[in-house]
Subunit: 333 residues, 2 copies
């Protein structure tokens, strides 16, 4: 069995409270400090955080629930958050719920049972019902990428309508009128926002919106491949594509590459996220990039503030902007 605080107490002849005090940065006589450190060394003692968590009602663990781990947008954010949280002594348990509401709820319940101190969620269920337990327990909730009006929580969002608007503006300025939109499911907030940005930009330019040019995929590579193939088959008049996340950008590129459709001569393309991928393509892809680092740091900061005291202040809503990285994948008509 692993050594306990009691073993250290016996070994040193001190009381358990003294050992506990030492472990928590309390004052201990120099001589005793040495004795304790020796005993800890000899017995390979490591605090049992399970016991500590039971007693203090704080686990120093944050739950993170995301739709998909195999998604560079998510992993970049997670990596960034982890870095910040770890430095403050917090660990994260990441659960990927496969964009499934049921799994999402299970993940949140699971994390609640583990008594994580707070939860960070890029939600699939837009009602937020799965988060009610955390709300009732008065544990901080930070939401990424959408608003949850029913839930008392902070949110960090990207201006997705503007993001799509920027892409469309480039295409329209270059004379494109038949623009295919590769977007996510209608019930996903970010996808809907991007679709709205697409429509608004067209309307503003006086170009009629043809709903047949809007392909609703499922935010995955595979889905986009199927969707783009269908779009190209049925609408040869399309001169440009805008793919509204990274995975679908890749899906679109796969179809164009495999069909030998040259960019930008035969098709103009604007993608999303992942600068490295855009650079690796030839010609370089023009993309809209999301500020993953800023998102990560905002989310982590807010969570830390909520954990270390500020429980009452009103829910916050942080909006961040995307940027355009210009390549050579758009042809001037």
């Amino acid at each position: 069995m692993a050594a306990t605080i009691k073993d250290i107490a016996n070994r040193t002849g001190l009381g358990v409270a003294t050992i506990s005090s030492y472990l928590n940065g309390g004052n201990v006589r120099e001589k005793n400090r040495e004795k304790i450190e020796l005993a800890i060394e000899e017995l390979h003692f490591e605090v049992n955080e399970v016991a500590r968590g039971l007693k203090t009602n704080r686990t120093h663990t944050i739950g993170v629930v995301i739709p998909e781990l195999n998604n560079i947008f998510c992993t970049e954010i997670i990596t960034g958050m982890e870095d910040i949280l770890r430095k403050k002594g917090y660990a994260t348990i990441v659960c990927d719920c496969r964009t499934d509401k049921k799994l999402e709820r299970e993940a949140v319940d699971f994390l609640y049972r583990k008594r994580v101190d707070g939860i960070i969620n890029m939600p699939v269920d837009s009602t937020g019902a799965h988060l009610e337990k955390f709300e009732k327990a008065n544990k901080p909730i930070v939401i990424i990428d959408r608003k949850l009006p029913q839930i008392y929580c902070d949110s960090v969002l990207v201006d997705n309508r503007d993001a799509a608007g920027k892409a469309m503006e480039i295409l329209i300025k270059n004379g494109h009128k038949k623009i295919g939109l590769i977007t996510g499911p209608e019930d996903i907030y970010t996808a809907k926002e991007r679709s709205l940005g697409y429509e608004a930009a067209l309307s503003k330019a006086g170009i009629p919106v043809d709903p047949n040019l809007v392909v609703h995929c499922d935010y995955t590579i595979r889905g986009a491949v199927a969707g783009v193939e269908k779009l190209l088959d049925e609408h040869p008049e399309v001169t440009a594509l805008f793919a509204a996340n990274y995975e679908m950008t890749m899906g679109a590129m796969i179809v164009l590459s495999e069909r030998g459709i040259s960019i930008p001569q035969k098709m103009s393309v604007i993608g999303f996220d992942n600068q490295e991928f855009a650079r690796a393509l030839h010609p370089k892809l023009t993309i809209i990039t999301q500020p993953t680092e800023a998102i990560a740091s905002q989310v982590a900061q807010i969570m830390l503030e909520r954990l270390e005291g500020d429980k009452q202040s009103l829910p916050r809503e942080i909006y961040l902007k995307t940027e355009v990285m210009t390549g050579k994948s758009v042809k001037h008509m």
Copy 2:
């Protein structure tokens, strides 16, 4: 405060032991079962796994320590493992140690303090010293991608020498003699193995090994960009490149794309991992792919077996093979 088992006991008039028994699948009189379920519903009771863990000395949590979360090879494996482990009631705490030995040790210590039931590690420190606590505690250790002779543990490996051999065989068969190798740091096991495979293949074909054509990067995109630029500048005689992981493949493609070096006319390329990326490029890239799903399932299976009883049997070593996905990025000289 959250409801406890005691609250349920009071509410139902039963004893805590009965509630506990119910929660753990014990037999309870039908009438009491109903009462308990009603109380659980009304009080929003959720078992406190922290308390349970303290008592049972099992947390149903597995620690996972990897060098980098922003690495598709790692995330694919993690996703696969999580799926399997979750179905058996185990959660995972993933720590990314940024390919840093010190952070790796801290992550492992942290997980030990959290009393995870077992640990899965793609190790940075080749001595395995950081894992000794788990070894002493007799908690299962499963290693991915290298052997740790000093540590009592199971390992799941890929035949990396063979992987590099396959790539080289293709290039050599197509008449290439000046082949650049973009590989990882010499002290990383997989990188070394891939380098050895490169050298062996050249020697076997009677082609002298020129160490100047071997670029040791750090397994990152950025590192590979710098490395490939230098290689191309200093060795214009190179006709083919083999990049020995996905990130470095992308780095190589970035340089080639930005310099306008056409593939395969001016340069032949074989990459590593990420089939989607290979397909998205035009012409399609020939790559060596690792069996991430098989790795994930082997690792998870072994961990589960060790957790559910089989503590004694000898350490296992599972070897898996890579595959070639043929594209059009290799020119016949």
